[in-house]
């Protein structure tokens, strides 16, 4: 009896291995471990998030202090560069690396804020349209068509400039103009899930619409919404940089990558690093979600 029990106990994990597949979570971790693109993307996101949160601790200098005797020091890989300013200084003698790190705060903050706002708007519209169907769905699709027709970058530029440039304006305007992809994805998935058996089951035990939407459907959209979120965040960050580059976004002396490129533009023929360095940072961030597109 004892030996049989032992044998069963020894067999059990093996059998479990054979029969039970990995849990969804384990499968996800396993896939993430083997996926170079995911690791690269995750590394960049975490690095940038940490840098922007701990900017005052990480930045070697104050990004706003001007030192006119130390203007346009080239980066350290250049012969005239020095370790005091690893990425050199700009035309006002401000430390470039520090400005880049503080700029990450603006980019990440605006990107996260606007992407969240767009997410709330888009997911709400998509959920209701997909769940209700019929006229409400048609109305939502019409709204989507109108939003797609608007030249969003141009409209964002005009609105931000007319209202008055500030980080809050940027977040609101960019958020309100970037909800369409959340809506499309949420609507399609909601329509699919709506007719699944577990939703009927929930309804048969007396769940009302609100409960079905929030407890049965919404949690199952989470993965896809996260993917859209990361893509949209990059789009918004690039739009913020574009607006700041054109002088209608973040205002000087605040450090923003787009603004840094704009400020460096006048000197770029002589000191290309003023333009290349923040651009590489921006492109690096844009790469992150693009990599995640092929999981």
């Amino acid at each position: 009896m004892n030996t049989t029990a032992n044998a069963v106990a020894q067999m059990a994990p093996k059998m479990a291995d054979d029969i039970i597949d990995l849990t969804p979570k384990e499968r996800m971790i396993k896939r993430a471990k083997g996926h170079l693109g995911f690791q690269f993307g995750a590394f960049i996101v975490i690095l940038f998030a940490l840098l922007s949160i701990f900017a005052p601790l990480v930045a070697p200098h104050d990004p706003y202090i001007q030192d006119l005797s130390n203007r346009l020091v080239p980066p350290v890989w250049n012969a005239e560069g020095s370790w005091a300013h690893i990425l050199g200084t700009d035309q006002l003698g401000r430390d470039y690396l520090s400005r880049l790190i503080y700029g990450a705060r603006i980019s990440m903050g605006v990107g996260f804020g606007a992407a969240t706002l767009g997410c709330i708007i888009g997911v709400s519209i998509g959920l209701i349209a997909g769940y209700m169907g019929g006229r409400i769905d048609q109305g939502a699709s019409f709204l989507l068509t109108c939003q797609l027709a608007l030249p969003s970058l141009l409209l964002a530029m005009a609105l931000v400039f007319f209202v008055g440039s500030s980080v809050a304006t940027l977040v609101v305007v960019l958020g309100v103009l970037h909800w369409q992809y959340y809506m499309v994805v949420t609507r399609t998935l909601t329509r699919q899930i709506r007719s699944l058996e577990y939703v009927s089951a929930a309804r048969s035990i007396g769940s009302n619409d609100r409960q079905v939407l929030f407890y049965e459907i919404l949690p199952n959209l989470f993965n896809q919404i996260i993917v859209v979120f990361s893509l949209e965040m990059a789009v918004v960050i690039i739009h913020e940089a574009s607006l700041s580059f054109l002088g209608v976004g973040v205002q000087p002396p605040t450090a923003s990558w787009g603004l840094m490129i704009a400020e460096g533009k006048t000197m770029m023929y002589f000191q290309p690093f003023l333009v290349t360095v923040p651009g590489v940072a921006l492109a690096g961030f844009g790469c992150k979600p693009a990599w995640r597109r092929y999981p």
């Binding site: 019409f142 068509t145 109108c146 797609l148 027709a149 608007l150 030249p151 969003s152 970058l153 141009l154 409209l155 530029m157 005009a158 609105l159 400039f161 007319f162 209202v163 990059a234 690039i238 940089a241 574009s242 580059f245 054109l246 002088g247 209608v248 787009g258 490129i261 533009k265 770029m268 023929y269 290309p272 333009v275 290349t276 651009g279 921006l282 492109a283 690096g284 961030f285 844009g286 790469c287 693009a290 990599w291 597109r293 092929y294």
Partner: protein, 305 residues
């Protein structure tokens, strides 16, 4: 087919109306137009006087229908900043932007389709990986930065192309390249996915079995079907190109609609800005209707709603 076209046109009209309303409301609520005309250090009295003089004291809906009514009769309003009719400004600047959009579209279609087809021939091969990396990079790199880098490279370090102005065809090479690259990823991915799907289908196998040459199969049988979804994406991309011209034209100092929009925004010129936003939206609407009709014509299955 006729019913389909009429339906699309009606929808387009409704969208155009809504968009014009949204544009008008957003831009007129974003700031006090009287204060913007008056300038930064105008007195309150001066602002009030301008408000009455320009009719800004009337309710929004009255002004909106007046604007819309004038639009119908071809009166696009007068620019406060440029001191001339908005219509003349548009006519003046449009050719540059249309040239830019056409050039950029050529770049997008040629690069996107070629890379997409090549990538689909051997999924996961080195060409496929190259194409996908290229797409990723094109998506990640901001338009204006790519423009500046190309200016440094091809305008300054190896000066073979002019980098600002719009007087010869050479001036358009770099802007078209920059604006075109930004849309390559979408076309590339769609072509690739479509081709991979079509190449794996039964009728291609049949065609192979019948002994058609690979090239014939690729271009005659596969590409035609794979291109259907690409058509609608391309029409949408033309719309984005017009919107994106703001940045490209500013970077390369082209005197087109995008730069006009930029300068009008900085000049707080609401009539011009709202007309440009509406104009770009209108072009987008017309293009998407054309795209739908084209698709319905190419593929009878699309005609059934």
């Amino acid at each position: 087919m006729l019913k389909f076209i009429l339906k699309r046109l009606a929808l387009g009209l409704a969208v155009a109306f809504t968009v014009s309303l949204a544009t008008f409301l957003l831009l007129n609520l974003a700031a006090d137009p009287a204060a913007m005309v008056a300038g930064e250090d105008a007195t309150q009295d001066a602002i009030e006087q301008i408000r009455v003089q320009f009719g800004f004291d009337r309710p929004l809906y009255v002004r909106f229908f007046e604007w819309l009514g004038n639009l119908m009769t071809g009166d696009f309003g007068d620019s406060y900043y440029w001191k001339q009719p908005v219509f003349d400004l548009l006519i003046d600047r449009a050719p540059v932007t249309l040239t830019l959009a056409a050039g950029a579209l050529t770049v997008t279609v040629v690069v996107g389709l070629t890379l997409g087809v090549l990538a689909a021939l051997k999924p996961n091969g080195w060409l496929d990986r190259f194409a996908l990396s290229f797409g990723t990079a094109a998506q990640a790199i901001p338009n204006f930065w790519l423009g500046l880098i190309l200016i440094i490279l091809l305008g300054v370090m190896f000066p073979i192309l002019p980098v600002s102005g719009d007087t010869s065809w050479k001036h358009f090479v770099l802007p078209c390249l920059v604006l075109g690259t930004s849309s390559v990823p979408q076309v590339l991915r769609l072509t690739r996915t479509g081709m991979i799907e079509v190449l794996g289908s039964d009728y291609i196998r049949t065609a192979r079995a019948k002994g058609f040459r690979p090239r014939q199969i690729l271009f005659r049988h596969a590409l035609r079907n794979a291109l259907l979804p690409v058509v609608s994406v391309i029409t949408i991309q033309i719309g984005y190109k017009l919107g994106g011209s703001v940045i490209t034209e500013t970077v390369f100092a082209l005197n087109g609609l995008g730069r006009l929009a930029y300068e009008s925004i900085l000049g707080a010129d609401v009539p011009t800005v709202q007309m440009l936003v509406f104009f770009f939206a209108l072009i987008f609407i017309v293009l998407s209707i054309l795209g739908d009709i084209l698709n319905a014509w190419l593929d009878p299955r699309m005609r059934v709603e």
